[in-house]
Symmetry: C2
Subunit: 414 residues, 2 copies
């Protein structure tokens, strides 16, 4: 399946062929959302500031003014036009684009889109069928509705940090950018739902998602713990918030580097996991021993059991440990780092990592959309250069010829 | 917007009104996906084992045989029928249901659905327009394609744990269940894309997602770090993997409890954040001081700066600190725990937390779908009791009358 929709009406171009997304987002929460839609075949047009564009291009800047890796990661398979939104003609241009778009999406600071004259009421008047989607840090009606937010703020205020860290240590921020990409994925789901209904009815819709609110969706197991114990879910290191069915956790492997660990999980639902593990580590003597027979009794000697497992895992590297424990029918996983994942040939062979052929940055191997559609993941197209698609998009969307586009450029409108 | 689709054809029942999902999933990765679709208005019918049903019902079991909170959280707004898949008549019943379904989804252990006689080839033969979606731990073609996986295994093998934890400590598991719900959300996006295309074309599709592969999508900022430094992204506690623009991180507040911290972030892109913070904490003397003027020079004295900020934050509780720092125009967020979130009236007032009126468990306040559609989040309906909807679903989907359903029950087929 290809996701490049050069003319917006190629029936083989993916699930969302012909769908036009007017993308006013920047950084990650919004761009991760529209990138997913681009990978499914929508034509996503980024509208960027003529002076520098999406600030994500310059965040974690590379030498020579190249776009950042961060930008490439979150803007693959999109198009770019520049529009000066401080010029009233620029604002009119965006409204003209909204007339032929299916979806408009923005994640500016609170109040900014309205100040630009591109708020929901304006856009709905221009195009009553528009799906108008917004990401903010905090929800309308929240005490913090006017506050700025970034990924880490959402993870702090949305409970994620409170349940991440060692039991006796401070809260930590997970490395995953749940506040941004996690939010973007939930908004993508609602946009797709709205598109589905609109296809039959022509009904437009306003969608709003706050990053803080989105976090609750990802920590619902902690709310189960909260409900069970009637108090705040704790931090549990690498173990489970709900209490473990020991052994469960990470165990050190040789040669002892920072990520040389294997996760081993023995399930409450399958008592054979424990028995199989005893056989594997050569402790058949404990099979059936009532001091170790059930999860609750093992919980009383968890530390002792962890030491016993670690004595075995230390004799193996993490890959071997994962193979041996997994082959014995016990869930296990090596702790893999980004370098190992980046270089693992399985991801490229299976289309999970793909190489973006970028015109200035060169080849960049990165994770694409991980879902296989009829056996293959969507093909990755490059992230756009700033304003690269002006003639293409203004031509097809607005019927402007290249002289008209040149004039807009000369006038500083784009 | 209501999400209960009692007859499957109510035009006011949400974005996915009329869409039928045959749901063979259990635990969290699959159920989180189908629950999102239910919240958008699809009719989701869980097909469960007559003896106990989805094992998630009994995981973290409650006294008296009640369904677990965990089950309620991931199965709101769905229906339930029981089918004995070890009986050939049960397998035929599911194939009959697939004839009138739009989507089939499963997350059994590798190979199990094929052994049941309900693999993709079988289902496609029954219904060529079916969207057939699968979650596995590892992808087809991965060295671990036959391994079991759970949330924590995916987080270990998908890089998430390697970037979570203190810089000098072991890898940790984020409290958020990215391996499960994070996977479920990506599959929901692809299902919705496939539904959108199918609405025009009738084209069925096979969708496959591995939990390990899904993790890469959520740690792409770490892949930017990997690309920049050419080595594995590190762990960074509560700070940023990419290196901070100090000050950035959590700072202790009074009264010093385990979650009494405020996150403060001064952005690289906005040098005013630092200046405003100095004014707030009464250190105007440092404004313009070249030893503190830029991110790079502050990075050299990050520890000293953190001590300076903490001296101020310790004088405030986290809510006050968030208010004061936020009001000064600096991104800030209190670290909130599940108890605070559960009891915060703002979430209920805004429809983010809703109360499920469950027939046996009673009222249960839980997070629902956080996206507002035209101003309101979808209303929450209860998670189903085991087999609750047999007459309803077999009646409407298969035209079976209640005598026929009784017979199936007597025969042990359902």
């Amino acid at each position: 399946m290809s996701v490049t929709s050069d003319n917006g009406d190629n029936p083989d171009a993916g699930c969302l062929s012909g769908v036009r997304i007017l993308d006013l987002t920047q950084f990650e929460a919004g761009p991760s959302c529209t990138e997913a839609l681009a990978w499914l075949g929508a034509e996503v047009v980024k509208v960027e500031n003529p002076t520098g564009g999406d600030p994500g291009r310059g965040a974690f800047a590379l030498p020579g003014g190249l776009d950042s890796w961060y930008f490439l990661l979150f803007n693959a398979s999109k198009k770019s036009v520049t529009v000066n939104l401080k010029d009233p003609r620029g604002v009119e241009l965006v409204k003209d684009m909204a007339r032929s778009a299916d979806v408009v999406i923005e994640n500016f600071a609170p109040g900014a889109i309205e100040r630009l004259g591109l708020g929901y009421d304006v856009m709905r008047a221009v195009n009553p069928s528009i799906i108008y989607a917004q990401v903010k840090g905090f929800g309308d009606g929240s005490p913090y509705e006017n506050n700025l937010a970034f990924d880490m703020i959402a993870q702090a205020c949305g409970g994620v940090m409170s349940i991440t860290g060692e039991a006796d240590g401070p809260p930590l921020k997970p490395g995953a950018t749940l506040g941004d990409t996690g939010t973007g994925m939930l908004l993508a789901i609602s946009i797709l739902g709205a598109l589905y209904r609109r296809k039959g009815t022509g009904k437009g819709e306003r969608l709003q998602l706050a990053m803080q609110d989105a976090m609750l969706h990802y920590i619902r197991v902690a709310f189960a713990t909260q409900a069970s114990f009637g108090k705040a879910a704790p931090r549990a290191g690498a173990k489970l918030l709900s209490g473990s069915n020991p052994p469960c956790g990470i165990y050190p492997c040789k040669p002892g580097g920072p990520n040389d660990y294997v996760y081993i999980y023995t399930s409450r639902a399958n008592p054979l996991h424990w028995q199989r593990l005893l056989e594997l580590i050569g402790r058949e003597d404990l099979i059936g021993d009532p001091h170790y027979a059930t999860g609750p009794v093992r919980a009383e000697r968890e530390e002792e059991i962890d030491v016993m497992i670690a004595a075995w895992t230390r004799q193996h590297d993490k890959h071997e440990a994962m193979r041996l424990v997994g082959a014995a029918g016990i869930p296990a996983g090596a702790v893999l780092d980004t370098e190992e994942l980046q270089n693992d040939p399985s991801f490229a062979a299976r289309g999970i990592m793909q190489t973006m052929a970028h015109p200035t940055n060169g080849d960049f191997k990165m994770p694409g959309w991980p879902v296989r559609h009829d056996g293959a993941t969507p093909a990755l197209a490059p992230a756009p250069l700033l304003g690269e698609h002006a003639e293409d998009v203004f031509g097809r969307w607005l019927n402007l010829d290249s002289a008209a586009v040149d004039k807009l450029r000369e006038d500083g409108v784009i």
